[in-house]
Each structure stands twice: as structure tokens, then as C-alpha cells.
């Protein structure tokens, strides 16, 4: 049995930033457990640039962004184990993990940070009809084959879903000599960042078909083509719009799902919209001393936001371990109308600083107003030129506002067109 003050599950950008912050806050005994062969998480295969604009004020590639944190982890002598899979986390914060070198590990922690990231939604979840040929994979799997293994998974590609990884892979496959026929998006808008649509599709003349989906896959051994069709407002294919496109590969970029299997095993309450834990402003779950940050909590569009969120968690875990948490008095947050979710879902009104609320909208808006109200009284009203489901928004609740709230109250965020 090993003993640590803090065990961080996941050594991607979230886990590393949280661990570094906790160390800065005075926690010496920290262990990061990472399932891959090295720290860095999914950033290691994201060799394109665009990372760090918000946080570092410069354009970095994924591995470069990760390296800045890996270096800090090393400089601070924060312990970590790679190629190590966490099998279970118990309610009393015992972590079971396994690797080749140490075998089965049993680790007792005072606090646990869950930073397992997310996975891509697979074909099966979409129920696309057709054959079971090879050549169908998620955009992220293709990204690993191309960027890490150095092999092309196809030459003539259709991409279903306009999530960021799909857009990035449209450009990447094109640069490697493949022909990307089109990107199909079921919704009338893309869930990807605008800059990715411009830089990855428009710049390469790759068509983006909105309100379009793949309804059939052809080919017995290897994919030989797909049938696409336009969809109506209920996302149902419109008869007569079917069109066959020859291709040898179908890449899927149809959503990311937080990997909360361990979280569920602990019995931590999850938010039905984010598919992540319900947390307070330090991202502490409903189980004392267990925190969550990064894409396991809710899917972020920029790693810069993951870093910022994880630093809050590192501080929160340190406060918990050092016994500074105190007795909280919570109010809850609630997204209304087009506001699909808010993180955190609850806020301790005794918190001594400002609290940022992150939220996502369910449809696109131009020149909209974001309004924050408390028990029916409007607190904040902000004009936004553009709101889109693909771009996370935030509003700050100033500490003096917080002081005026009473335990059990509700903060609502709405968007007015």
C-alpha cells in the first residue's frame, strides 16, 4: 500500500496543470497516474498549431504545449507513473492501478483529482446503416495513425461530423496526399471552431455540407463508398436527396464523451448534459476530496481553458488537503433556454474570490445578450456579437455579488436574441 496526499488520475494537460498548481500551493506528496507511454495526453498526437494562444499568448503545437507542463512536472519533481491504468477508485479514496513494472498498485490518497479526458463517439452509437467494412474510424484514431505511427489510413476520404478533430484531420489528410471529398454535418451549424472551418476546409476547398448525414456505407472488405443525404429539421433524411460518394475511408467526428467510468464506480453524481460530474467552483464533486477537471468534466474547445480550470482544481485540492475548505454554503447555477449547461453546477457563497461560470449554448446567435439573474433579479447583461455551440462562453460573478446571495439560491443564465 502506497500513501500520497494527492493522486491525479490522468497525465494530460488537465492532470498536469492540476498537479503543478497543487505543488505550488504547498502539497509535496503528489502522484500522477497516466495510462499512455508518456505524459501529455491527446496533445501528443495534435501536431498542428493553435494551442496556447489564450494561455501563453503564442501559437504552439500540441506536443509543444504539453512539453511546457511536462518540464514543470519534472522540474518540480512531481512523481508520475506512465503506462499505468487506474482500475478503480473507491469512496474512501483508495486508488487501484496496474502496470507492467509495479504490478497491481494500491494507493491511499487524501484527495483524488479525476482527469481522464474524453473519448470519441463511435459508429455504433450513431447506428449508421451499411456494411462492417474496414476503413471506418474516428478522426482521432486516424490522427494517431498518421501523426504517431506514420501510416495513412486512407486515400479518398469522407468525414462525418464537423467537430474540431474532424476539421483538423480534413486538412491533415489533404496535406498527406489524400483527397477529402467532403465533410458532412447533421446539424445546420458546425460544432467546430470557426477558425478551424476557415483554415482546414475553406483554405483547401473542402466542401462542408450542413444538415447532411451519411445514411449508408458500402463495401464488403474495405469501404468503397457512402451514401449521403440532406436531413430535415428533425434530422431525418429527406427522400430524393441521396447521393453516393466513392471513398475508401469514412472518418467520424461526431462528438466527444467524457470518460467517467471511474467516476460512476465511485458513485459520484453526474450532470446529464455534460456527462461529467456535478461540481462546485473548485470542481469538487459530491464526494468530499474528489475533484474533476478537463474534458472528463465537460468537453472543452481549447486546451487553454482546460489548463485554467485545472489550476483552480489544483488549488481546491490543496485547500482540501490542508484543511482550509471550511463548511460550504451552496447556491446552484441553472442554464435556461438556449443555455445547455453551466459548470460549475453549484457555488459556495463563502468563497473569497470571483467565480467564473462556463456555459455552452445549443444554437447559434448573432448580437445576442447574455443575462445573469439571481432569484429573478437581473445581475449582469452582456452583449455578444456571436454565440455558437462550438465555442464555450463564460461570465464572472464578482465576489461582492456572491456575498449578497443566500444558501439554496439559484443563479440563472439566459440568452436573448
Amino acid at each position: 500500500m502506497l500513501n500520497y496526499d494527492l493522486v491525479v488520475v490522468g497525465g494530460g494537460p488537465a492532470g498536469m496543470a492540476a498537479a503543478i498548481k497543487a505543488r505550488e500551493c504547498g502539497i509535496d506528496s503528489i502522484l500522477i497516474l497516466e495510462r499512455a507511454e508518456s505524459l501529455g495526453g491527446i496533445l501528443e498526437q495534435c501536431i498542428h498549431t493553435g494551442f496556447g494562444l489564450q494561455y501563453f499568448g503564442e501559437q504552439l503545437s500540441g506536443p509543444e504545449y504539453a512539453d511546457r507542463f511536462i518540464e514543470q512536472v519534472n522540474d518540480m519533481n512531481i512523481e508520475y507513473k506512465t503506462d499505468t491504468m487506474v482500475l478503480d477508485v473507491t469512496e474512501d479514496k483508495t486508488v487501484y492501478a496496474v502496470n507492467k513494472k509495479d504490478g497491481l498498485l494500491e494507493i491511499k490518497a487524501k484527495s483524488v483529482i479525476l482527469a481522464m479526458g474524453c473519448r470519441e463517439r463511435p459508429r455504433g452509437a450513431l447506428n449508421i446503416a451499411g456494411t462492417r467494412a474496414s476503413g471506418i474510424m474516428t478522426a482521432g484514431t486516424a490522427q494517431k495513425y498518421v501523426n504517431i505511427d506514420g501510416y495513412m489510413p486512407g486515400k479518398k476520404v469522407v468525414i462525418l461530423g464537423s467537430g474540431d478533430i474532424g476539421l483538423i484531420m480534413a486538412r491533415r489528410m489533404t496535406l498527406e496526399g489524400a483527397k477529402v471529398e467532403c465533410v458532412c454535418e447533421l446539424m445546420p451549424y458546425s460544432s467546430g471552431l470557426t477558425r478551424n472551418i476557415v483554415q482546414c476546409l475553406d483554405d483547401f476547398d473542402i466542401p462542408l455540407y450542413l444538415s447532411t448525414t451519411v445514411i449508408d456505407i458500402h463495401g464488403k472488405d474495405r469501404v468503397t463508398g457512402v451514401t449521403i443525404a440532406s436531413v430535415d429539421e428533425n434530422r431525418q433524411p429527406i427522400p430524393g436527396t441521396e447521393r453516393r460518394i466513392d471513398c475508401d475511408t469514412l472518418l467520424l467526428s461526431v462528438g466527444l464523451i467524457p470518460e467517467n467510468e471511474l467516476t460512476k464506480n465511485v458513485g459520484i453524481g453526474l450532470d446529464r448534459v455534460t456527462n461529467g460530474a456535478v461540481v462546485d467552483e473548485y470542481r469538487e464533486t459530491d464526494h468530499e476530496g474528489i475533484f474533476a477537471c478537463g474534458n472528463v468534466l465537460h468537453v472543452h474547445d481549447l486546451v487553454d481553458f482546460v489548463t485554467q480550470e485545472s489550476q483552480i482544481v489544483g488549488e481546491g485540492a490543496a485547500r482540501y488537503i490542508q484543511g482550509k475548505k471550511g463548511e460550504p454554503a451552496y447556491i446552484t447555477t441553472k442554464g435556461v433556454g438556449a443555455v445547455r449547461y453551466i459548470v460549475p453546477q453549484k457555488v459556495n457563497i463563502k468563497n473569497e474570490g470571483d467565480v467564473k461560470l462556463f456555459f455552452r449554448v445549443g444554437s447559434t446567435f448573432k448580437n445576442a445578450t447574455v443575462k445573469v439573474s439571481y432569484d429573478g433579479n437581473e445581475l449582469i447583461s452582456r452583449k455578444r456579437p456571436r454565440l455558437a455551440p462550438g465555442e464555450m462562453e463564460n461570465v464572472t460573478i464578482k465576489n461582492d455579488m456572491l456575498k449578497g446571495f443566500a444558501e439554496g439560491g439559484v443563479i440563472e443564465i439566459t440568452v436573448e436574441a
Binding site: 482500475l87 507492467k100 497491481l104 451499411g130 474510424m137
Partner: protein, 476 residues
């Protein structure tokens, strides 16, 4: 090569025939056109061990089903294949269907099915709370159970290979000659010689039989589509839930699988193309609608994959297991649709008996009926895991995170008798890639392990043999 018996088709029937014949001093080849075992009907069906009340008394289906089901628990134990005796409920929703329950109960009793009982509404909803309120009664069959159909096939075939059977993959039979004494079985430029042939080619039985001039078989490919749901809803029903049968088959069922998922299906549509296992969105939608009649809480939310399989249906609606009228050393095992899986252990005995009584082969002294249990890291206690990794560190590296499958288990699957040669083969033997991410993370690692073990480049590795390559050339 010269063999005493060549079995064409490495599905569940072929595998059990091979295993039963391997008890005798015979040289046996198990020929398969695909890259792996269980690549046809045996990999895509309901996985139900039926009690045996469906078939008309006196038919081969009735006889072999009841016998096979009775043998199943013991056979599964010997082959280290999980079998769960969960029982089945055939549910009636109206007066008319109550009569069907009585008819099937009487039929089952005539077939020798043990323990059949009619449950009234109160009892039914007590034992299966998820059922639709409208369900009025059910036929309870305690001897029914569930098994993983490809795991059973792999278990039987591995055991056969351990007992001397030769498994020859990628051997698509395209011609058969007979010189009055021996058959020559050809596949492209390859050929083998054999004294007996067992035609266990599933939906292709008619084409194989026609190669010796036997045109008596007409296989109809009857497609069944399924939806498989996440383990989080695996316990929705406690037993296999049938609706009343219809002329196309046993109808849409809802069941747990032996691995703890929930399975909904199948449809039943006769098709022309015997390799068409496409799924169609309209059929999947109609399966769900039909299944909701049994269990209203079902949704598509938890569906992790869908698939289709083909039943080898014959117009006579019975199995044909007999010496061909064109050549009595050629045995047809045709029309093995449901309850073919349940019957497989009995089909194996039946066919082995036909051949042995004809050629008079003696039993081996060293036949071993036991297949050692593969390591299943996810089922072990922490103490067992600890000991295992100490012994072999490869069991300490998790490759498939969703299903907790280790590198050691994947290497075992590749190194096994008749082991995996492609990604789907690893998946069927270990469950790597069968979880919620469906191979998104572990797929590339499985490709690497296969390439390393087989000593080839990673772009040689296929999903399921043939042209199903996963990668093309190296990047620029």
C-alpha cells in the same frame, strides 16, 4: 495433403463436428474460406440456447435441439466458455396468443423439454418487472440459457486443434473432384485430398453440394439484424424474452448477453446476396418498435453497435444432416439455422457417429476434452491480478480500457491454437474493442501487437482478412 475427413466451414457446426471427430484416430482438416473461425452465421446471432419447444416433434431440429441444450452446460464447462442458464419467457399479449403458449408447451413436452410452465400475469410481472403491462402470460422454459456464439465456436475449434485437427484458413472451396476413392478439394491453386467430406458451409451449403452434383439443397439466406446495448442497461431483463413465433421465425427477442450487454433483435428478411450483412436504418427502427412491445423502456440511447447475420434457411424447415444421394462419403449438414447453436454439441456427435460407423475408426487414448480457460483479467480479484502480473508482466498492461483487456490476453489470443490473425479475431477472443469506444483507443495498439507477433508490417494487418486492410502506405 491427405486427410480422412475434411469439414468445410468453421462455424459452430463445423467446429463441434471437428471436435467430436478428434476423439478418433482420424486425420481431419477444418477448411474455412475466411481468415478466422465463426465468420458467418456463428458470429452474428442471438446466442440463445433454446429449450426446444419450437420445433415439430420428430424433426431433427426437435431432437438435436433438446439433446444439444442438455449437453450445453457440461460442454461449456469443458471448453471454458461461459454459459448462463437464465431461462426464457415466451410472452403472450392477448387471448389468441394464450393458445399459442399451450400449443408450444404441449409441443415442448412431446420433445422432452424439462420444466415448462405457464406463468400467469401476476407471476410473470413478479419475475420480470421490466415487461410491458399488457403481457398477460408466458411460457417459462428453465432449461434455456445464453452463450456467446463465437466464443463457443472458438472454444470447440481450439479444442479440436489441440486434439490434432488441422485448421486451414482462407481456403475457399471452388471445386471438388472424386476419383471413386478420394475427393480432391480445391481452393484456387491449393488442394487437399480426403476420404470424407462434411459440408457445413452454412448459407453456402447448396453451392458446395452442387460441386459433387448434388442439387437437392436450396439455401435461403434469411437476414437478421440486431442492436447491442451498453452494459449499463444489461440487466434490463433477467431472462430471454420472446414474443410468439411467426412464419419467419422466433420473432424479436430481448435478452441479456453472456457478457452483460443487452441484445435486441433479430429481424427476418430473405435476401439474394449471401454475403450481405448490411444493417439498414429502417429495419433497426422496426426491431426497436417491436421489442418495445415486450419491454417499453428500451431506447436507442444505449446502443453501442448494430450488426446482421444470415440464417441458412431451407424450405423443409428442418436440418438436413445426411449422406448425399450423389455420394455417400459426402455428408450434408444443411439448413442449420435456429436452433443450430443450441444443437451444435448434438450435431457434432450425430455427424461423428455417421462417419465413424461407416469407416470404423478407433478412439484415441489421449483425447483431451478440456480447453484450458483463457485469462480474463477483468474477472479476477485483486489478489489474483497481483499474482498474475508478477508471473507475467504482459498482464499488467491494459490495452482496451473500456473492457479492461491486457496485452497478455491479446498475445494469448494470437498464440492460441487456431489463434487470431486479424483485429476482429482478437476482438472476438478477448473483447478488446467491444466496449463503449468500439476500438477507438485500443484498435491501433491491437494492430501493433498483431504485426509484432505475426512478424509483418502494420499495414499488412486487416480487420477481418481479405482486402479489409486498415492502413495504406507510410506518410510522406
Amino acid at each position: 495433403m491427405n486427410y480422412d475427413v475434411a469439414i468445410i466451414g468453421a462455424g459452430v457446426s463445423g467446429a463441434f463436428i471437428a471436435r467430436e471427430l478428434s476423439r478418433y484416430q482420424l486425420k481431419i482438416a477444418l477448411l474455412e474460406k475466411c481468415n478466422d473461425l465463426a465468420m458467418g452465421t456463428s458470429k452474428a446471432n442471438s446466442g440463445i440456447v433454446h429449450s426446444g419447444f419450437d420445433a415439430i416433434p420428430g424433426t431433427l431440429k426437435a431432437k438435436l435441439n433438446v439433446k444439444g441444450t442438455a449437453l450445453m452446460p457440461e460442454v461449456c464447462k469443458a471448453l471454458s466458455v461461459p454459459f448462463k442458464p437464465i431461462g426464457s419467457l415466451l410472452v403472450a399479449f392477448c387471448e389468441e396468443e394464450l393458445k399459442t403458449l399451450d400449443t408450444l408447451k404441449a409441443r415442448g413436452e412431446a420433445n422432452g423439454v424439462p420444466g415448462l410452465e405457464i406463468y400467469d400475469k401476476a407471476k410473470l410481472h413478479e419475475v420480470e418487472p421490466a415487461l410491458n403491462e399488457d403481457a398477460v402470460a408466458a411460457l417459462w422454459a428453465p432449461s434455456a440459457g445464453i452463450v456467446c456464439p463465437y466464443e463457443l465456436t472458438i472454444g470447440a475449434a481450439e479444442n479440436a486443434v489441440s486434439n490434432g485437427v488441422e485448421f486451414i484458413r482462407n481456403f475457399a472451396v471452388d471445386a471438388i473432384d472424386y476419383d471413386g476413392n478420394e475427393f480432391t478439394v480445391k481452393s484456387g491453386d491449393n488442394s487437399i485430398k480426403t476420404r470424407y467430406i462434411v459440408n457445413a458451409a452454412g448459407v453456402f451449403c447448396d453451392e458446395i453440394a452442387a460441386m459433387i452434383g448434388d442439387n437437392s439443397i436450396h439455401t435461403i439466406a434469411r437476414k437478421g439484424e440486431y442492436m447491442l446495448c451498453d452494459k449499463s442497461v444489461g440487466n434490463t431483463v433477467k431472462h430471454t424474452i420472446f414474443q410468439c413465433p411467426n412464419p419467419m421465425g422466433k420473432g424479436v427477442l430481448v435478452t441479456q448477453t453472456v457478457d452483460g450487454n443487452l441484445l435486441i433483435g433479430p429481424s427476418a428478411i430473405d435476401i439474394e446476396d449471401k454475403e450481405n450483412t448490411d444493417t439498414t436504418s429502417s429495419t433497426l427502427a422496426s426491431i426497436l418498435e417491436t421489442a418495445k412491445k415486450s419491454v417499453p423502456s428500451l431506447t436507442t440511447r444505449e446502443v453501442i453497435t448494430s450488426f446482421a447475420g444470415l440464417r441458412a434457411h431451407l424450405e423443409c424447415d428442418d436440418f438436413i444432416i445426411e449422406k448425399s444421394k450423389a455420394n455417400d462419403k459426402f455428408i450434408n449438414v444443411a439448413g442449420i439455422e435456429s436452433p443450430g447453436l443450441s444443437s451444435a454439441p448434438a450435431v457434432g456427435l450425430y455427424v461423428a457417429d455417421m462417419i465413424v460407423s461407416d469407416c470404423g475408426a478407433a478412439e484415441k487414448s489421449d483425447f483431451n476434452p478440456v480447453r484450458e480457460a483463457p485469462v480474463r483479467f477483468r474477472h479476477l480479484s485483486n489478489e489474483e491480478r497481483k499474482a498474475l502480473v508478477e508471473k507475467n508482466p504482459a498482464y499488467g498492461r491494459i490495452i482496451c480500457r473500456c473492457e479492461t483487456i491486457t496485452e497478455g490476453e491479446i498475445l494469448d489470443a494470437i498464440r492460441a491454437p487456431a489463434g487470431a490473425r486479424d483485429v476482429d479475431g482478437v476482438k472476438r477472443r478477448t473483447r478488446a474493442g467491444m466496449g463503449r469506444c468500439q476500438g477507438g483507443f485500443c484498435g491501433s495498439k491491437v494492430v501493433e501487437l498483431l504485426a509484432k507477433e505475426l512478424g509483418v508490417d502494420i499495414n499488412e494487418i486487416t480487420k477481418f482478412g481479405g482486402e479489409s486492410k486498415i492502413l495504406y502506405e507510410r506518410t510522406k
